[in-house]
């Protein structure tokens, strides 16, 4: 038990260290981008007709605290984020970022997790079957399909599905809510409406994630299948599903759990593209909007930090889960 606590503590501090590093990187990048928040906001004002001068910009910078040194500003940003969960105000929109992102972020995270789960629900059984089957044909075609999942741009898939729906039902399936519920408060009907539409992004995001997951599962199972303990178990008369689930599958599980974080990362990478096609209003498309339209550093930083924090949190949880299943992991405190 003590060992486990120690492990959890070390992992937690490593996660926090990672988050700090990430926040520094993100903050620096947002800093490197030409132009400060004050300049941009006032330039925006300028286009609205109110003339501004250098003094105005400097006053605005002082008001926003932009005249302080870089490290001080970073510390206060990080402090606010970590201790109070506050991301401050958006640069252009002048709205509190927490409010702005609100449940949009929760929805997009939910969609991503759902597609991750979908990917592994398909990949684990199929991967195990592929690895244990001797059929060249089955293996070859599975490999082909999963590479196709990688190579075929998922926006293409999204377009096709949308087209089919437009032709068949006259509803293009864009957006996460139908018009009736878009601005309505959460209710049971709204949830049903949401679910009836959310499957499409989940499916499309899950499509290429499945391709990767399938490769991982198959490779791991092949590795484990060749090991001596499997041969030994087979020699003792175990065979078929019993053998597969009790021996190699259990060992392959560890690395799979470990790779979940990176799978989530990959899904986040594809989220903006799919969101663009489906015109979703969750964080993915909001990110694009914040970035492409208004050059809003604060908002961009907040979104990227949130996404990364989700991945770090998932990594932490999977580490703990692994330690619970596998005593060897507990022992190697820093290893991994």
């Amino acid at each position: 038990m003590f060992q486990f606590l120690q492990f959890a503590l070390v992992r937690a501090s490593m996660a926090i260290f990672t988050l700090l590093t990430v926040s520094l990187i993100v903050f620096t990048l947002m800093e490197l981008v030409p132009g400060t928040c004050a300049e941009r906001y006032l330039a925006f004002k300028n286009t609205q007709g109110s003339g501004i001068s250098i003094e105005d910009i400097e006053a605005e910078e002082r008001r926003l605290g932009l005249d302080r040194p870089f490290l001080v500003r970073w510390t206060s940003w990080v402090g606010n984020v970590f201790l109070r969960g506050e991301f401050g105000d958006s640069c252009i929109l002048r709205v509190n970022i927490n409010q702005l992102l609100g449940d949009k972020f929760a929805i997009s995270a939910a969609i991503c997790f759902a597609s991750l789960i979908l990917a592994y629900l398909i990949a684990i059984p199929v991967g195990i079957i592929a690895a244990s089957s001797k059929s060249e044909w089955l293996n070859g075609s599975l490999r082909f399909v999963s590479y196709l999942g990688l190579a075929m741009p998922n926006f293409l898939l999204a377009l096709m599905i949308m087209l089919i729906f437009t032709v068949l039902y006259g509803d293009s399936m864009t957006g996460l809510f139908s018009n009736a519920y878009r601005d309505a408060p959460w209710s049971w009907d709204k949830v049903v409406d949401f679910l009836s539409r959310a499957w499409l992004p989940v499916f499309i995001l899950g499509w290429s994630a499945t391709a990767f997951a399938l490769q991982t599962v198959r490779a791991l199972m092949l590795d484990e299948n060749g090991k001596l303990y499997v041969t030994a178990a087979r020699a003792r008369g175990l065979y078929g599903r019993r053998l597969l689930w009790r021996y190699p599958a259990r060992h392959a599980l560890g690395p799979i759990i470990n790779s979940l974080g990176f799978d989530l990362n990959r899904i986040f990478n594809e989220l903006p593209i799919v969101a663009l096609i489906l015109t979703l209003t969750e964080a993915g498309s909001l990110l694009l909007e914040a970035l492409a339209r208004s050059n809003d550093q604060q908002l961009a930083g907040a979104i990227i930090f949130l996404l990364t924090a989700t991945i770090v949190a998932l990594n932490f949880v999977t580490d703990i889960a692994l330690a619970l299943i596998d005593p060897r992991v507990r022992k190697s405190v820093v290893g991994g």
């Binding site: 490593m14 260290f17 990672t18 590093t21 990430v22 990187i25 993100v26 990048l29 947002m30 981008v33 030409p34 070859g140 590479y147 196709l148 990688l150 190579a151 075929m152 741009p153 926006f155 293409l156 377009l159 096709m160 949308m162 087209l163 437009t166 092949l222 060749g226 974080g261 990176f262 990362n265 986040f268 990478n269 594809e270 989220l271 903006p272 593209i273 663009l276 096609i277 990110l287 694009l288 970035l291 492409a292 050059n295 961009a300 930083g301 979104i303 990227i304 996404l307 990364t308 991945i311 770090v312 990594n315």
Partner: protein, 394 residues
């Protein structure tokens, strides 16, 4: 290896004619196997992998198509080469026969553009089956540069009018020419990106692996932190700040650099692992005992021991680089006209109008899929071939 029992030199007794028995041939083959260099071994194993060989052929063809794009494409891929009388035109396939008889030289039908009361006063392109444009080879067309030389010869063209194998887009640009140039651009961005990430990986992974200990620990923690950041949103953030005034060339280099920065952590980790393992090998110790300096060991022993693996890693990472370029360009944050990459071509397909009416816009997508698949298969084949235990498993 065993000593050769029937050595021909320095033996007493009657002279024996050495006959090439099958055994000897086999032994020579085995000898060649044991003395073969890393690269020869990988190539030998790679050749046995059928799907990888097919993919390699496809890849080579695609690369050649990209490199010789200006020669192969009949028209300038930018607006300069547009065919304004044939916008959104369907692909024209050269044929040998039509209702007016056959010809030894392939031809296409000419087109006319007309606007009348029947067409609701919209411009409509009609195929005129009585007009023929014959396909010609090595025709002179728009000028292009290959290195310091300027050429104007193109592989094919037609004697009058235009030929569009893959049709044209809404501005009348030839999709065939654009596809070839897009392949070239995507490959060039990818190569540049791979080189950048390779250098970064070599330096960072090299420092990490060579020094080990605390340095290694710190670098690994930072690398891991970087690896957790979802890259595409991050670079969307950066790319959004590219000023609109940048020329397409500047954009091109900027995107390549960004893509180089996407990929280094994975590669760096491989370099580090290789170095960590190789550093403790006996041959390194042997070299050290003989008084070789660190620089000599790194250059003559360590680097050759894993260059082939690094090349394999580079090939494996290539499709992902092409994919990230496509993703960036697709969102509209990467390359833009007149530089056209596969991402730009893919972006053109995203409207329902295209899907319903102008399906030939999707031809570049097929090339894109083929390119990525070929890379992935070749990468896979190389990885299997580079794995020294690959043959013994299964």
């Amino acid at each position: 290896m065993t000593m050769e029992p029937e050595g021909t030199h320095g033996t007493t007794g009657p002279h024996v004619e050495v006959v090439e028995t099958e055994d000897a041939v086999e032994r020579r083959a085995r000898e060649a196997y044991f003395t073969a260099s890393q690269r020869q071994l990988i190539w030998a194993r790679f050749k046995r992998n059928r799907s990888a060989m097919v993919a390699a052929t496809v890849l080579v063809v695609l690369i050649l198509m990209g490199v010789f794009a200006p020669f192969l494409s009949p028209y300038n891929p930018t607006v300069a080469g547009r065919d304004k009388d044939y916008t959104n035109g369907a692909p024209q396939i050269p044929m040998f026969c039509d209702q007016n008889g056959c010809s030894a030289r392939p031809f296409i039908h000419g087109v006319t553009r007309e606007r009348s009361i029947e067409t609701n006063f919209r411009w409509v392109t009609k195929v005129d089956p009585d007009k023929r444009a014959y396909v010609e080879f090595f025709v002179e067309g728009w000028e292009y540069n290959l290195g310091p030389f300027t050429f104007d010869t193109h592989l094919f063209g037609v004697d009058e009018g235009y030929v569009h194998l893959f049709g044209t887009d809404d501005a009348g640009k030839d999709i065939f020419s654009r596809t070839l140039h897009a392949i070239y651009t995507s490959l060039a961005v990818g190569t540049l990106g791979v080189l950048i990430s390779f250098v970064l990986a070599l330096v960072i992974g090299g420092v990490s692996g060579y020094f080990g200990g605390v340095t290694d620990g710190v670098i690994q923690m930072v690398t891991d932190a970087i690896r957790t950041i979802p890259i595409i949103p991050l670079f969307m953030a950066v790319a959004a700040f590219i000023p609109d005034t940048w020329s397409s060339e500047t954009r091109f280099f900027f995107i390549s650099i960004i893509i180089g920065f996407i990929n280094w952590p994975t590669l760096a980790r491989r370099v580090r692992t290789h170095l960590l393992v190789e550093r403790n090998q006996e041959y390194v110790l042997a070299a050290q005992l003989q008084g070789a300096g660190a620089g000599h060991i790194i250059r003559k022993h360590l680097l050759p021991s894993f260059t082939s693996y690094i090349i394999v890693d580079l090939v494996i990472s290539f499709p992902y680089i092409v994919l990230s370029e496509t993703a960036l360009s697709f969102i509209g944050l990467g390359l833009k006209d007149p530089v056209n990459s596969l991402g730009v071509m893919l972006q053109n397909t995203t409207s329902a109008d295209v899907l319903l009416n102008y399906q030939w816009y999707f031809i570049p997508v097929l090339f894109f899929i083929a390119l990525v698949m070929a890379f992935v298969y070749v990468g896979d084949g190389l990885r299997d071939a580079a794995d020294p235990y690959g043959g013994s498993r299964k």
